[in-house]
């Protein structure tokens, strides 16, 4: 991926910044400037709170290029509290079994590095909730 593409994606990737529809208040992620619910223009940025639950998941053993060193890892569809569905890696799982409906929270982690000399890429993953005191 080009440096410029990484740069354009950084806000949504680092901290789940999406959009909210000014007409129907639907929350949109990833941002696409058009509301998928009512079809109107939606460009107001919206910060998701990062909480959600597992909708489905799968284990990846043959990782695509750039992700080999993390394999095997679990890829999940996470239903965010505000509505949208996000595909992301799970992290900090240890031996914990993943279950549908399991509550998770967003963390920002290293997604990949483009080789030893390349740019380090950071973005959202999800982990089991670390409860607050």
């Amino acid at each position: 991926m080009e440096l410029s593409q990484h740069w354009r994606l950084k806000q949504q990737r680092y901290s789940l910044v999406g959009e909210i529809c000014p007409y129907c208040e639907g929350k949109i992620f990833p941002p696409r400037d058009i509301c998928p619910d009512c079809g109107n223009e939606a460009k107001t940025t919206f910060q998701f709170n990062g909480k959600g639950e597992i909708y489905s998941f799968t284990t990846v053993r043959q990782a695509p290029a750039g992700h080999e060193e993390n394999a095997p890892y679990t890829l999940a569809l996470v239903r965010l509290e505000e509505g949208p569905m996000v595909a992301a890696q799970l992290t900090d799982l240890d031996d914990q079994a993943v279950e549908i409906g399991m509550p998770v929270e967003m963390v920002t982690r290293k997604l990949r590095s483009e080789g030893e000399r390349g740019l380090l890429i950071y973005g959202y993953k999800f982990r089991p909730i670390l409860k607050a005191a």
């Binding site: 950084k10 806000q11 680092y14 901290s15 910060q47 060193e69 993390n70 992290t91 900090d92 240890d94 031996d95 963390v107 920002t108 982690r109 290293k110 997604l111 740019l119 380090l120 950071y122 993953k125 670390l130 409860k131 607050a132 005191a133």
Partner: protein
């Protein structure tokens, strides 16, 4: 007239929010000893925290900063500085701090810089943040001390070099959960521990790291600050010293006149190891998690090279309700997965894949 060596800002500054981060993996010292067939009779017991494959100083700083913001309850767009002190910034050229600032929503109206001064890079950033807020230039400044500490395989440092640290959002005293009353820095050129550019692992002066380095600088900083603020060890409920191992902080505390129960809450090295620039600062988070309003805390860092920053801090009523808004340091410590040396080697990139 006594020369004024003590640092006090024009307007009072305090900690508006604080946040710790400790990764979940733990490498016990006995596992390091097993691999290197070391004589375990005199070796450190304890264990150290190890970062996972997808973690580094940037990701760990982001989580600590988010915890500090959760406790501060302020709009991150009002932050005017994001300063990260570390010995393990992921890139040689490309700031850690810009990624952290972007991830927490502090961009674009902010300073961003990475600080270096061995294990006191984080408190150095905190001193600067006190000046930045205390002069009125900024409403809020974020200072972070975080490390994924390096130790050469088989070296004495490998038993303790751990991962973790803390973020402190400084702001006006009126909004603070703890007020920083005064600080003092003591610095000399002392070559006890160093790492040349492009080297992966540091060199250290074995026994030379003790007396003329750690003990001299911490004692001098603590004594001068207590003299100038007219305080005595018994005025402090808690004291936190830089913790390269279990012995040094206990010995310096007792020589300064502090009792074991004053340092116990902030002494984390047996569970997480020496987190370098994170060490004293993450110790302070554990104290803030349990302190009562009105408690006085002495914080003294140490960085090789060498220097110490000392701070006298007093908690306020705000502490009790705000500390519940993010995970406590003990919760991070209890989130523990033990790993063996092989897994550790994989996580810390000690295996060469080509």
């Amino acid at each position: 007239m006594q020369e004024n060596k003590i640092l006090r800002p024009i307007r009072k500054v305090g900690i508006v929010g604080y946040g710790a981060y400790i990764p979940r993996y733990r490498l016990p010292a006995r596992e390091v000893a097993r691999v290197w067939k070391a004589d375990t009779s005199g070796e450190p017991s304890g264990e150290k925290a190890v970062a996972g494959l997808d973690e580094d100083v940037i990701t760990m700083s982001i989580e600590a900063a988010r915890n500090a913001l959760a406790r501060a309850m302020i709009d991150p767009a009002k932050i005017r500085a994001v300063w990260v002190g570390s010995e393990s910034h992921p890139s040689a050229v490309k700031p850690t701090s810009t990624v952290v600032a972007e991830a927490i929503g502090a961009v674009p109206n902010t300073q961003a810089a990475d600080w270096e001064f061995a294990c006191k890079a984080g408190t150095e950033a905190m001193q600067a943040a006190i000046g930045f807020v205390g002069s009125g230039m900024a409403a809020y400044a974020l200072s972070i001390g975080m490390d994924t500490a390096q130790g050469r395989p088989g070296d004495a440092l490998e038993y303790t070099a751990g991962a973790g640290g803390a973020a402190y959002l400084l702001g006006p005293a009126e909004e603070s959960l703890a007020i920083i009353e005064a600080s003092y820095s003591f610095t000399t050129d002392t070559p006890d521990f160093f790492r040349r550019a492009n080297e992966k692992y540091p060199e250290h002066g074995e026994r030379f790291t003790g007396e003329p380095a750690y003990f001299k600088h911490i004692s001098a900083a603590a004594q001068e600050l207590m003299r100038a603020t007219e305080t005595k060890p018994e005025d402090y409920t808690y004291a936190v010293f830089h913790q390269p191992n279990d012995k040094f902080p206990k010995r310096v505390a007792s020589s300064l006149g502090f009792k074991p129960d004053q340092i116990e809450a902030g002494l984390l090295v047996p569970w997480i190891g020496n987190t370098y620039a994170g060490s004293a600062l993450v110790g302070l988070t554990a104290v803030l998690d349990v302190a009562e309003p009105g408690d006085k805390i002495l914080l003294v860092s140490y960085g090789s090279g060498a220097g110490s920053d000392a701070f006298t801090i007093q908690t306020t009523e705000e502490l009790i309700k705000r500390r519940k808004q993010a995970p406590s340091t003990q919760e991070y410590i209890q989130r523990r997965t033990e790993i063996d040396y092989a897994t550790y080697s994989r996580y810390r990139g000690k295996l060469s894949m080509k």
